[in-house]
């Protein structure tokens, strides 16, 4: 069986697996962005309670393994009466994990906005909300975007683990193909290539594009 035969036989399954992987990636990334934004700003709150809550979330998800978190959410949560569908459990685990790393990016970026910008906003009598939305966050986003580029790749790689709770993503499909055909090099090799193409030719250039567009909007390009 040549490699071309392999591709024609298993192409549809590889394609459907890739579609599931992309779906997991997009949803988990959205969740991570929302969680990172919220908890990143909470980490900067003046209230100890709010800071503590966010810090607990961030330390738990950064301090343990994604795979352990995934298993915990999928196998241990039902004991508390919360049974999640496996696709949802996958998105939730990968998104929660990514969000914890993202929170540190958000916090660092907000703190990296020059102090003069805060002072100027206060001097022209902006409300704290307006100051954050109009002055600080737009500049912080430009600072944190390169970090998000790396984090999104980590999230994409993280989605491969959801195959272990039987979400039928790319990783799951190639394991099945490997078990059925014993074509290990072809099966796993093709999956490696697909992940590489997704990361190197879609996610990374996409993020570069957003970085350039943001820099232009801020008048820095």
């Amino acid at each position: 069986m040549s490699y071309l035969d392999f591709l024609t036989t298993y192409g549809p399954r590889l394609a459907s697996g890739t579609a599931v992987t992309v779906g997991q990636f997009v949803l988990a990334s959205l969740l991570a962005v929302i969680l990172a934004g919220t908890s990143g700003l909470m980490l900067l709150s003046a209230s100890r309670g709010i800071r503590g809550t966010a810090l607990t979330y961030v330390e738990i998800f950064r301090g343990t393994s994604l795979l352990v978190q995934l298993y915990w959410i999928f196998f241990a949560l039902p004991i508390f009466g919360l049974t999640l569908e496996k696709f949802t459990a996958g998105v939730l685990a990968v998104g929660l994990n990514g969000g914890a790393y993202g929170a540190m990016l958000v916090k660092g970026a907000v703190m990296a906005v020059p102090k003069g910008q805060w002072e100027a906003a206060i001097a022209i009598n902006m409300t704290p909300t307006r100051r954050m939305l109009r002055i600080i966050l737009p500049q912080a986003v430009v600072i944190m975007l390169p970090g998000w580029g790396n984090l999104l790749i980590e999230i994409l790689k993280g989605t491969a683990l959801v195959a272990l709770i039987s979400v039928t993503d790319l990783m799951f499909e190639v394991r099945q193909i490997n078990n059925a055909s014993f074509k290990s090099a072809e099966a796993f090799g093709t999956a490696l290539l697909i992940y590489y193409v997704l990361a190197r030719f879609i996610v990374t250039p996409g993020m570069r594009g957003i970085e350039r567009a943001m820099a232009r909007r801020m008048g820095r390009a």
Partner: protein, 224 residues
């Protein structure tokens, strides 16, 4: 399935999980050692004079870093036998982790070496030191402080990625928790304890890395 947390059951499985923690630490340590050696080798290859070699090494590293570790573990474990090379789960796992994190570490080393001022190279040349001597005595010791933080982060990263080895049958922490779950149909206690053990290992590790950094800086006569 009974509800809520069972303390007696947790106490009963704790020794097994602590025993498995030893294997997790062994896997992380072994993987890290390979990653350090490979990472350093990749750094030197990348710094070679041949442009083709530099580009090829960089692209291979990019490939390794942008594909999932768990897939690389499967690839190394299953592809070997297809070509008559049978690897044990431990060997395959160590190679996969070493390769994956070697690619990350070589970026850390490269950054460290590039942070050494150019004058140090020129001084070494002026003193007629050999290339090996320049690296070992002059450049690497000065590159170390700025590389330490990254090196420490990836050590913790490897520790947290060792559970992936359970998928090819390495009997580390998660593997032990899976076995316990399959025997008793109780998943809450084993997975929660595994999570706590990881927290107990990785949180102090972060503090330890910071103090190691200060210690090395002081030892080298740089101010912290």
């Amino acid at each position: 399935m009974t509800t809520a947390w069972d303390w007696a059951f947790a106490a009963e499985i704790l020794p097994r999980l602590i025993h498995a923690t030893g294997y997790t630490l062994l896997a992380a340590g072994g993987g890290y050692l390979i990653a350090l050696i490979l990472g350093l080798a990749l750094t030197f290859l990348q710094r070679s004079r041949s442009r083709v070699l530099t580009i090829v090494v960089r692209e291979v590293m990019e490939f390794v870093r942008s594909t999932p570790l768990v897939l690389q573990i499967f690839f190394i474990f299953y592809v070997g036998p297809q070509f008559g090379l049978r690897l044990s789960p431990w060997t395959a796992g160590m190679i996969a982790i070493g390769l994956h994190y070697g690619a990350y570490l070589s970026e850390v080393f490269r950054g460290g070496i590039e942070s050494v001022p150019k004058g140090q190279w020129e001084a070494a040349t002026a003193l007629n030191l050999s290339t090996v001597k320049t690296y070992v005595r002059i450049i690497l010791p000065q590159a170390l402080p700025s590389a330490l933080a990254g090196m420490g982060n990836y050590l913790v990263g490897i520790l947290k990625d060792t559970p992936m080895l359970a998928v090819i049958g390495v009997t580390e922490l998660l593997h032990a928790a899976n076995t316990i779950g399959a025997e008793s149909y109780r998943y809450l206690e084993p997975y929660t304890i595994v999570g706590l053990i990881f927290l107990l290992l990785s949180l102090p590790a972060a503090a330890l890395i910071r103090s190691a950094e200060t210690w090395v800086r002081k030892k080298l006569g740089l101010n912290a």
